[in-house]
Amino acid sequence: MTEAAPERESTGDDALVEVRNLRKYYDDGGGLLDRVLGREATSVKAVDGVSFDVREGETLGLVGESGCGKSTTGETLLRLREATDGTVAFDGENVFDLDDESMSSFRRRAQIVFQDPFSSLDPRMTVGAIVAEGMRIHGLPKSDPTVATAAELTVEDGVDRTVEVSVADDLDRVVEAEEGVARVPVSVRKREADEEGGYEATVDSHADLLDATVEEREADLHVEVTVTGSDGAIRKKRAGDLLERVGLSADQVDRYPHEYSGGQRQRVGIARALALDPEFIVLDEPVSALDVSVQAQVLNLLDDLQDDFGLTYLFIAHDLSVVRHICDRVAVMYLGKVAELGPTDQIFENPDHPYTEALLESVPRAEVGEQGRRVSTLAGDVPSPRNPPSGCRFRTRCPKVIPPEDVEIDQDAFREVMNLREEVEAGNLDPDEVRETEPAAYRKEAVPGIAGENAGVVDEALEAVADGDFETAAETLRDRFETVCETTPPDDAPDADGEVVACHLHD
């Protein structure tokens, strides 16, 4: 690229991106039922207050199951979707508050690669044009006035004169500057006698975009290097270079996306993201659609590019093995919030949040020891993001949900009590069935592990259910079994080390 990367101090812990209390709600008018019944529309709280930093040069993983809000987070922090609330600072500047010029610069410095390489590439454009498109939109190549230009001169035998070189100021449109100087190798030689005689000069790189001429000025030779390639030609050359860099062949710039396999198309997507010399790339499930053998190639490529270009990645994925492989730190999301955030090894070896534990427990490992492993699974499904649970989002499924201090109860039994409460509060029990089974018998079936006072309270509540009085039943249960996990949202602000364990067990 024509610009030198701005010098930045890399203290390692510097935040390039700071996300604070980011919210993204979708007001889609509610469900059909809501509209028919004229109920007030409830919005989908896709992202509901997440805070984290992405540090300079790191790969931060954002993992979670579908509907947890990870992709929406990625798109919202890039301002591809409008945030409902919160701030995102990129390199110190609030992204939601940029003027046009700064916005254009942000669009250049922060890029995204999507999961589905095909749908994100225009099928009618050649891959060269696709890769070059961003440069065209941003009016590149542009010369940077702060970049100096220079030639590395080779004077061949037979040239017995002093050679002076002048290089066009806009050489940096073609040649990438290193440490503020764009350099081009030039050689000067004497023509063979049978030709027209005199001297000739050649540029030894980018020859099709540059030209060198020699002029005899008295005793000296004066060589002048000029940029002759058009902007379009320069962009095409750079597109070819980028394709090569991502493992494709530069002479394929005139091909179309459909001529490529999935893995190759994803490489094109990556080349496109690189074209503007970004500092930060959001990788949104970049290898999820690929076969494993190809996925490994792309992961290795992403690794290499990060080293070569000093990139910072936000890596969004649902595949925990991939995340473990590529990420320095990991944020685990559940239902629009960050459940746990910390260094990758810590998260994978000593997960602190019950959801992280469950997630890791669920992953099938590709090894013989996995055979027949029975996994203690999470019960049920993720609740609706329209109406997320109060307090801790995970409390409707958490196996460690915390019983009130003054209630003595077995952990599994408390989980069952909480499930029962859920059903009572949703009015899901059938009063006739409870009445016919008899409340105490029903309780033994639904919550076998309780006795004494606990059993008494549950029986009392079930009697109310049998009478069809769900409200009293819910209240009776709440009175005794209300847990901190439902009353108080756990703290999910990153601590001084940038870590999060949003769980009351770690207060």
Partner: protein, 397 residues
């Protein structure tokens, strides 16, 4: 009595498309034993799903099974057809492909049942879940009584049916008994409040619950073999774990055999006793889970295992298989081993000597079969061709 419920021999399925003949499944052999989970693993285009469809004779045009036998053990069927179709009977086994069409269709249910990746494609959106399962029960019941005249409303559900169903009121011909059985089945697969859920429509179910409903439907015929094609691929990992637990439980308790088809090596490891690895339409390696995962012989299997990041051990660098999945167009397939262009161990004879790598050979363990020159010989690094040399040999012939 032999302990194989299914013996697949030389199964070959091709697609005859405008671009030419596609060799989707080529001479595939494997056995499925009683009460085991046999895994078929492969990447896209490996032919694993077409193999599943071929087993139950559901390959659609322009595809066609051109060759092969699917021997299914059923003493009664064998007896019934011994005189009328002598070629289709061998001892207690019948070759499903040579049986009359009606019998073949009848077998779907009590012999083979299937679950697919996308439950929505097999469930009718305008009929309640309970009713659809009840119907499957009913169909099986009637099939047993009269094997030749059954057709389920929900089998092969397509747009045409959808239109018909949305115009005509559904014909309730399902007996109460079948309704009850449907609720039992929903309970059996772990759907809470089965009675209420039975009255709901597929779109009211979450992905995990739908997959459970599919399993319930598959169980309606009490099948001997459950064919599960990527049953958990569309699911989140915690829901996947629930479904895998359910399948294990059912398989043990119902004494079914399962053919599990997936691209996920972790799922294979958790579920299967034996496994076949498919590449470019062929089973390239087959053996016990230990054989294949711990002593892989085929370079593709090795490569596949090296490609996956390990959730427990962050290896600094993956060793991927270079290149891309090959074309299965007949015209573009040569005599060389189909993996040769990506194989780091490819030798000259891999490219030319078709006999050597065509037939699966046993390694020192007779149950561990490998379709590769290296099946029964040591790899000698000095024989490996560089990629340039490979190109030369391939383009030469």
């Amino acid at each position: 009595m032999s302990d194989e419920i299914l013996k697949v021999r030389d199964l070959t399925t091709r697609f005859f498309t405008e671009e030419g003949q596609v060799n989707a499944v080529e001479h595939v052999d494997f056995d499925v034993r009683d009460g085991e989970v046999f895994g078929i693993v492969g990447e896209s285009g490996s032919g694993k799903s077409v193999t599943a469809l071929s087993l139950i004779d559901l390959v659609e045009t322009p595809g066609r099974i051109v060759e092969g036998e699917v021997w299914y053990r059923d003493a009664d069927l064998a007896e019934e057809h011994r005189d009328s179709h002598p070629d289709a009977v061998d001892g207690d086994y019948v070759d499903v492909r040579q049986l009359p069409e009606a019998t073949r269709r009848w077998l779907r249910g009590p012999a083979f049942a299937t679950i697919f990746q996308d439950p929505m494609s097999s469930l009718n959106p305008s009929i309640t879940v309970g009713e659809q399962i009840a119907e499957a029960v009913e169909v099986q019941r009637r099939a047993r009584a009269n094997p030749r005249r059954t057709r389920s409303r929900t089998q092969g559900y397509g747009l045409g049916r959808l239109l018909v169903d949305s115009v005509l009121p559904s014909q309730g011909y399902v007996s109460d008994e079948s309704q009850e059985r449907a609720v039992e089945l929903l309970e059996r697969v772990g759907i809470p409040d089965p009675e209420q859920r039975a009255d709901e429509y597929p779109h009211e179910f979450s992905g995990g619950m739908l997959q459970r409903a599919m399993v319930a439907q598959a169980l309606a015929g009490e099948p001997d073999v459950l064919i599960a094609d990527e049953p958990t691929t569309a699911l989140d990992v915690t829901i996947q774990a629930q479904i895998l637990n359910l399948l294990t439980e059912l398989q043990e308790e119902e004494d079914m055999s399962v053919v599990l088809i997936t691209h996920n090596l972790g799922v294979i490891a958790r579920m299967c006793q034996r496994v076949g690895v498919m590449y470019a339409g062929e089973v390239v390696e087959r053996g016990s889970l230990e054989d294949v995962f711990e002593n892989p012989v085929h370079p593709y299997t090795e490569g596949l295992l090296g490609s996956i990041p390990d959730v427990e051990d962050p290896a600094p660098r993956l060793s991927p298989i270079e290149g891309n999945v090959p074309s299965l167009l007949d015209a573009e397939m040569g005599d060389e081993c189909y993996f040769a262009d990506r194989c780091p161990k490819a030798m000259e004879s891999c490219l030319t000597d078709i006999e050597e790598h065509e037939a699966p050979a046993a390694t020192d363990d007779t149950d561990h079969l490998v379709r590769c020159i290296l099946a029964d010989r040591e790899y000698d690094e000095s024989e490996a061709l560089g990629s340039a040399a490979k190109q030369e040999v391939i383009s030469d012939d």
